[in-house]
């Protein structure tokens, strides 16, 4: 058998494995995609502009806030500053993935960088440099992109006829998947400390509706993990 034949099914199967790993998160995002589409139409955007938000911007929370700002007619500077604030966590994902994606060819960096959402970071951020597979990440990221855009399209076309899917509690799928990804990684006390500090900080900051709760809680957890590591090493 020549190598060409062996490589092709491998790529294909990695792509499929990534798609399958992403399914719970793709399903969980459907209500928000529907909402993004119907809210954009409600806010007076044209169907093309509404779909462009998902197809080009491709950032759930930033899209909903952007739609609100377009509706309110705020200036471009305000829009960009607000977007910068919401999107700041992506800098953290980008720097964390530098070792894995930075050495790939340009087309891979552009594709995976473009698809680097919370969800893709969840699926591939935990993988070690050796275990990271571009085709797996592409399958996860691209299937998620398609799902988000299809949900948006349905929201645009049929927004007012769709029952309130967000009341079913589908966001639990996000929690369930993330739990399944985090727990096996808690192999030492510094990681446990990082997780516990991020958990307490995130709940507390969300309860007082602190802007940027996610960033502060994440960095707090990382810092706590690092400090615990230094202390255990010294002991």
């Amino acid at each position: 058998m020549n190598t060409e034949v062996q490589i092709m099914p491998n790529r294909h199967s990695l792509f499929m494995q990534g798609t399958i790993a992403m399914i719970p998160l793709s399903v969980a995002v459907i209500p928000w995609g529907l909402l993004a589409g119907s809210y954009a139409i409600e806010s007076g955007l044209s169907p093309l502009e509404s779909q462009a938000l998902s197809a080009i911007l491709f950032a759930g929370s930033a899209q909903l806030v952007a739609t609100g700002m377009i509706k309110a007619g705020v200036g471009l500077t305000t829009m960009l500053l607000t977007t910068l604030f919401i999107t700041s966590r992506h800098f953290l994902y980008s720097v964390s993935m530098r070792d894995k994606i930075g050495k790939l060819p340009l087309r891979w960096r552009l594709a995976l960088g473009y698809l680097l959402t919370d969800e893709l970071f969840a699926i591939s951020g935990n993988q070690s440099e050796q275990r990271f597979e571009p085709w797996y990440a592409l399958g996860a990221g691209l299937s998620f992109y398609l799902c988000w855009n299809l949900a948006t399209l349905i929201g645009i076309v049929a927004g007012s006829y769709i029952p309130a899917l967000n009341e079913l509690g589908l966001e639990f799928a996000v929690a369930a998947t993330f739990i399944a990804l985090v727990i096996p990684n808690i192999k030492n006390s510094p990681t446990l400390v990082a997780v516990l500090v991020a958990l307490v900080l995130s709940v507390a900051l969300n309860l007082i509706q602190f802007e940027g709760a996610l960033m502060i809680a994440s960095i707090g957890g990382m810092l706590a993990g690092y400090l615990a590591e230094t202390i255990t090493r010294r002991a």
Binding site: L48, I56, A66, M97, G113, G169, F172, A175, A180
Partner: protein
């Protein structure tokens, strides 16, 4: 105009996702920062999931009739026992949907 605003925001979001993936960007991370980044996965994921589980309706809800909390505990047990991500997600999600929409 709206389309231009969308493009400008998209450029900003893409920049935030891509910038550190660029090998030409001269960035040498101090070893301390690299060890910190080693905890970024667990820390970020926990920070996203914690409010869904402990405050699904924007109030602290630590009680035996919080289906989010119950099924989060269930998911933790399943992944600890089996190590199977897909099984954990599907099983805890099915039980959650039953509890959340039919039982409580």
């Amino acid at each position: 105009m709206t389309l231009l605003a969308i493009l400008a925001m998209a450029a900003l979001v893409f920049f935030s996702r891509y910038v550190f993936l660029e090998p030409k960007l001269p960035l040498r991370l101090a070893p301390q920062i690299q060890s910190m980044l080693g905890y970024s996965g667990p820390a970020v994921l926990t920070a996203i999931l914690a409010p869904i589980v402990f405050a699904p309706e924007d109030e602290l809800w630590v009680a035996a009739d919080n289906p989010y909390l119950l099924c989060a505990i269930l998911a933790s047990v399943i992944i600890y026992k089996t190590g199977n991500v897909l099984l954990t997600t599907v099983l805890s999600m099915v039980i959650f949907l039953i509890l959340n929409n039919l039982v409580f």
